[in-house]
């Protein structure tokens, strides 16, 4: 167990009055008994006990501090005061520390009790330093207590005024965009070379009369034609082939999906 375990809940009943410094050394020990709720935890109590040794924190006697703390807790117990667990934990740890300090040196474990005591002392010093610093800080000339700022300042206001920026070009372009956006939409379909379904049917019928073998549909298309006309002719010829098949004039065959499409004259 180390002193690190001595991190405990803050005493809720901590005095609400402004902290004006450590307890004065003239306090009688008797006053201590009634103040258990006033401590901010065991370290706080230890610090006050240490301060009662009336020596610099650097040269306090840890052994006598331990004795005082344990005695204090025992007395409080005797008076049946409710003692928070953290005080008891600290008491137990200090009792352990004390026995270790009194044991012969060569039976020590690591860390040595001297090291533990030194750590405790360093902690007390640091807490003591901060407590003194807090007291000195609170004693400074504070605004609203010792010094005052102006009671009724007029206040500074900055009113922002927008200066809008726009120029001729942006204005005119803006109008152009409105006009463009709202212009009626007219669709013009460009004239394209097409093969109508009717002419495709005629063409296909005529060509089927010439041959009896399966022919790929592409061979029915006009060769060397404009590619756009080729596309139209393919589409129209396909529809024409379907139409002829429906009329029982042609047969259509396709061996695999997306494969070439073959057409031949229907054989009744």
């Amino acid at each position: 167990m180390t002193e690190d375990s001595v991190l405990l809940a803050e005493t809720v009943a901590a005095d609400e009055v402004e902290w004006e410094g450590p307890a004065s050394h003239s306090d009688s020990d008797a006053a201590l008994y009634l103040e258990l709720d006033g401590w901010e935890g065991p370290l706080d109590l230890l610090l006050d006990l240490a301060r009662r040794q009336k020596v610099d924190l650097k040269s306090i006697s840890i052994l006598s501090l331990v004795d005082q703390y344990i005695r204090y807790i025992e007395q409080a117990e005797a008076l049946r005061l409710e003692i928070a667990a953290d005080y008891l934990v600290m008491a137990a740890w200090l009792a352990y520390l004390k026995s270790a300090l009194l044991l012969p040196k060569d039976e020590q474990e690591d860390p040595s009790p001297e090291e533990l005591a030194l750590r405790l002392q360093l902690r007390l010093e640091r807490l003591g330093a901060m407590r003194d610093a807090a007291a000195r800080l609170m004693a400074r000339d504070r605004v609203g207590r010792d010094v005052f700022v102006r009671g009724a300042p007029e206040g500074l206001r900055v009113l922002r005024k927008n200066q809008w920026q726009c120029d001729w070009f942006q204005l005119v372009r803006g109008y152009g965009q409105v006009k463009l956006r709202t212009e009626p939409v007219v669709h013009m379909v460009r004239e394209r070379p097409v093969m109508t379904i009717d002419s495709a049917i005629d063409r296909l019928s005529a060509m089927l009369g010439v041959s009896v073998d399966w022919m790929e549909i592409r061979h029915f298309l006009p060769k060397d034609a404009d590619p756009r006309l080729q596309r139209s002719a393919l589409a129209s010829s396909f529809v024409a082939a379907l139409e002829l098949a429906r009329l029982g004039k042609a047969e259509i065959r396709q061996e695999i999906a997306y494969g070439p499409l073959h057409v031949r004259r229907a054989t009744p």
């Binding site: 005052f148 700022v149 102006r150 009671g151 009724a152 007029e154 206040g155 500074l156 206001r157 900055v158 009113l159 922002r160 005024k161 927008n162 200066q163 809008w164 920026q165 726009c166 120029d167 001729w168 070009f169 942006q170 204005l171 005119v172 372009r173 803006g174 109008y175 152009g176 965009q177 409105v178 006009k179 463009l180 956006r181 709202t182």
Partner: protein, 229 residues
């Protein structure tokens, strides 16, 4: 001189300074264990005459205030340059080409609803004014441009605005990427915000430089209109 200032004078000065309201000589005196403060008040009044702070007596009660001629420091106006949004620019253009025009007509021409703030901005800028009401049911307010509008855009009259044919010839009726425009606008708005923050931290320099850049952007847009449309 101030180091030998007498204690009463210092006390009166401090009391008046810290007080939340004007105090009569009697009130100050009561506060300072009955001392006679009249002379101290006169002395302070003289001392502060011509400074940035003045001690003044109003209705037999005294208080410190900022010197009246420096009142403009308390309510400072700061101008900031702001670029007109695309929507506002379009509305302005529609008013300029079609005035006088009601809001419903503007919306009909733009093909989108116009937020209430847009017309406010144009009126704040001083370019648009309410020009009466249209004598139709609902009597809508109609808007027109102002003389400030003409001078700001360097126009002798509204007739100077280019016609549709001219716009077409100048390529101004070619489609532009609206999304790109919006993005640029957003960037500008963000830059503006940053600038405002800069102003809050008190840097006047940033304000100045940012203003310059604003104009620079516009100038380059004017120089290369073909690239931006």
């Amino acid at each position: 001189m101030s180091h030998e200032m007498d204690d009463l004078l210092r006390a009166v000065e401090a009391t008046l300074f810290a007080s939340e309201e004007p105090l009569s000589a009697e009130q100050i005196s009561a506060h300072l264990e009955g001392a006679d403060v009249r002379e101290a008040l006169r002395e302070l009044e003289t001392h502060y005459a011509g400074r940035g702070i003045a001690l003044v007596e109003r209705g037999r009660r005294w208080h410190f205030q900022t010197a009246p001629d420096l009142a403009h420091l308390l309510r400072r106006e700061k101008e900031q340059l702001r670029r007109l949004s695309r929507a506002a620019t379009e509305v302005l253009a529609i008013i300029a080409y079609h005035e006088p025009v009601s809001r419903a007509e503007i919306e009909a021409i733009r093909g989108v609803q116009t937020s209430a703030g847009t017309l406010d901005v144009l009126m704040e800028a001083g370019w648009v004014r309410a020009a009466g009401r249209r004598e139709v049911p609902g009597r809508p307010v109609i808007y027109a441009t102002t003389n400030d509008f003409l001078s700001h855009f360097g126009l002798a009259s509204r007739k100077d605005l280019p016609g549709i044919d001219e716009l077409k010839a100048a390529g101004l009726l070619d489609p532009v990427e609206d999304a790109f425009d919006d993005m640029m606008e957003q960037q500008a708005a963000e830059a503006e915000e940053k600038r405002e923050e800069g102003a809050k931290t008190g840097s006047m320099d940033e304000m100045g430089v940012a203003g310059e850049e604003d104009w620079g952007d516009q100038a380059s847009a004017l120089e290369k209109p073909d690239q931006s449309v």
